[in-house]
Subunit: 168 residues, 2 copies
DNA sequence: ACCTGAACACCGTTCAAGT
DNA sequence: ACCTGAACACCGTTCAAGT
């Protein structure tokens, strides 16, 4: 399951050495299969985020979390489109990731860094969006970074720092 | 062609009263077909944007343009994913829309409202992203508006107005 | 020259038969 | 009870035959 990105279900079954029917009984929906396939990876993502969040400001932690989510969704073709559903399907790593995201968002909003009218679903939505659009890009492109940075700027409460003096 | 969103090519051909082979010869790629199907609509979009741009500030004009593009890409299922390619395919309305977008972006950047490191491709990319993610949403949802607003905030040069006083 | 649609290839899904 | 994979349905694409 590791590499075979958007292989046909037939190939997945063959590679897992089971019949296609058995595959269907274990994973009734495509989302269930995807969820199981990347569950471990999501667990790691959540854990790394928790560790990082102990060191940096909430807003920053949320940004890096978003970026990690985008990159995660880009690993398996076909995952991005159903990221929202996969995260909700409840398997352990999905749940951990959702929990961590909710936690970071609350913290960042409480600290006044991030707009209070943002929902976690919007974060997932953005991660999905960036993954989907950059999927066709050349592999090592800079667009992911640029889009993440743009998105994140959109999340920030206005005038956080005024890196240059404001005009007139 | 008007309504049949993501119908099979077979149905498109049948509806157009031609053989499937003829359809292929007229439109060798899916993008060519999509481009032709929405060309008129894109012409209108570009024209309306030009009229609007005469009345409002460049940044504002660019935002409304982006929103229109998002809504356009949401009309036909399957268009969003290839919006970038479709816009480049060169048919009249596509060309007009690209021209108008480039023009608005230049103006908005020259006026200092919009970040100078944004490319038109990024705008298209964002429109694609929002369309793709909101495609699965309930029809009348508010998410499109919220995401467009977020995106656009990300485009803006910092501290444009300082709606509230900056902190300490 | 142009059009047609049967034919082929591919993939997702089901379900009768086997163990 | 559980597994299997042939069989069915569907869609995209091509190309030999017809006009």
């Amino acid at each position: 399951m590791q590499r075979g990105a958007d292989a046909s279900l037939d190939e997945v079954a063959k590679h897992a050495q089971v019949g296609i029917g058995t595959l269907y009984r274990h994973f009734p929906t495509r989302e269930a299969l995807l969820g199981a396939a990347c569950d471990e990876r999501l667990s790691e993502l959540a854990q790394q985020s928790r560790q990082r969040a102990a060191r940096v400001a909430p807003g920053e932690a949320l940004c890096v979390f978003l970026e990690a989510l985008v990159r995660h969704a880009s690993v398996y073709r076909g995952l991005a489109a159903s990221l929202g559903i996969v995260l909700k399907n409840g398997s352990s790593g999905c749940h951990a990731t959702t929990e961590e995201g909710l936690r970071l968002l609350s913290l960042a909003q409480a600290s006044g860094e991030i707009r209070s009218d943002i929902a976690f679903d919007d974060i997932v939505c953005m991660a999905t969006a960036i993954s989907l659009t950059t999927a066709q890009d050349a592999p090592g492109g800079r667009r992911i970074d640029r889009l993440v940075s743009m998105f994140v700027d959109g999340l920030r409460v206005r005038a956080p720092k005024a890196s240059r003096g404001p005009r007139s």
